[in-house]
Subunit: 273 residues, 2 copies
């Protein structure tokens, strides 16, 4: 049974694993009074190597779970699921608005006013061409240059953000953007906000806007809730409840790095295939 | 219907993905006339983050598939599945002998005659304590020192084996073994043979035996087939047939790096959950 949408309903956010917590953090920063339900599909991560049909199937299961929890909005905080499952999640969500990373990154790039846009992401995201398609659809005159950076996710999970290995890896991946005319760079993976400061430092001296999809989707969420008159007006800080499909221990260990603080409430919830 | 085991029956090898191809290569080097059926569960990789029950379930499905293909031996070329599923795979395999990476690495360490053994592997393998348990069971006087090296798998898949990033990463993970008294080091992950030469160079000047689990399991396979009088006496080179559960393209791209040559025959075979 669907619960009525109210101002005090929580916002639902999901990802294939832990990366989407950077989105949860950006939403909490932008909307500190909103309650959040986060679902990390840690038993079935990563989505990037799975077929579109499987990703849609998993995403729909999670959407139904979040709807049952009474969320007033769903944020697909996973680039692979954003590309594969936005329409089917919107169908599952009914009248509950659905936001996704690729639209948010695209809006952020358009708002920057730049004409040459770089995109970095996982092999799956870059290989899918989803950002390029979305950017060109928004403005066919844009020049888009993409680069897969597969080592950044494991580096972030190892906590190697600014050591010698991380800096050299970033140099190998990013040096092309120092000379290829790109004026704005989309961080097209939910793990990448951890490297935001390091990437800004790397491009120091060059005019390059960094577009953080997590911040962009948080801004979209705020606008959308305002428009629908569903912003929580409470003066109490919001509560974050996390659900994972397997192994909460690893989630606890990593969550602080992505969230900026320890998650208080972590529950295990197995979804049926 | 089970096929009778004959000398010309193939050897079955499986892994959660691509890493087990280093084992296939070692088996082909040791037994060049044997036919091999390789199964890489690319749709469900990685196993390390999944529950033991799930890993057993997946491994049993693959074992039944290999038995239907008429294999005369199954090699579990995946450390996680070796730790979680050896007994259940042996049960599914009936009279067909089953070898696994952890037993093979343990035998290799015992044969080295060294008393202080280092083990490197993924977070899941090292966290499980499977090598330590197996080594202590074989010889309780052994001293075992383990170190998880989570970045080596993504480095191997990126093809960064001996660049600056790889060398610095290996130094961070391995420098402890330069001074902690370890005399032999088990490469406890099927991806790690790609780094064997670089690791040998790193320890140049220090007496440290490198125990390559892939070579160790190939040696065990040869002994076992000799014992059972099932060695293929043909003078024809063996044929390798590969089955993957998803996305053969990525398998093609990576396989050469692990196998030393392109795989000729790659088929998609979906197994039911």
């Amino acid at each position: 049974m669907k619960k009525p949408l109210t101002k005090t309903s929580p916002i639902g956010i999901f990802d294939s694993g832990i990366g989407g917590l950077t989105v949860a953090k950006a939403v909490m920063d932008a909307l500190p009074n909103e309650d959040i339900i986060y679902f990390g599909d840690s038993a079935r991560v990563p989505y990037g190597i799975k077929s579109q049909e499987t990703v849609r199937n998993y995403s729909n299961q999670i959407a139904r779970f979040l709807i049952q929890k009474g969320v007033k909005m769903i944020i697909i905080a996973c680039n692979t699921a954003s590309a594969a499952a936005n329409d089917s999640v919107q169908h599952a969500a009914g009248k509950v608005p659905v936001l996704n990373m690729i639209d948010a990154g695209t809006y952020g790039a358009i708002r920057s006013g730049k004409k040459a846009i770089g995109v970095i992401g996982t092999l799956a995201t870059i290989g899918s061409g989803a950002y390029e398609k979305s950017l060109k659809q928004a403005d066919s005159s844009l020049i888009v240059k993409s680069k897969a950076c597969p080592l950044l996710v494991p580096l972030a999970e190892e906590g190697w953000i600014d050591n010698e290995v991380a800096l050299k890896t970033l140099d190998i991946y990013l040096n092309t953007f120092k000379s290829n005319g790109v004026e704005a760079l989309i961080l097209g993976c939910t793990h990448y906000p951890l490297f935001k400061t390091v990437i800004q430092d790397y491009f120091n001296g060059k005019k390059l806007d960094i577009i953080d999809s997590a911040e962009a989707v948080a801004a979209s969420a705020k606008s959308k809730l305002e428009l629908k008159q569903l912003l929580n007006n409470s003066d109490q800080p919001g509560v974050l409840n996390c659900y994972v499909s397997d192994r909460p221990q690893r989630f606890y260990e990593l969550a602080e790095r992505f969230l900026g603080r320890k998650p208080e409430n972590v529950f295990v919830e197995s979804l049926k295939d």
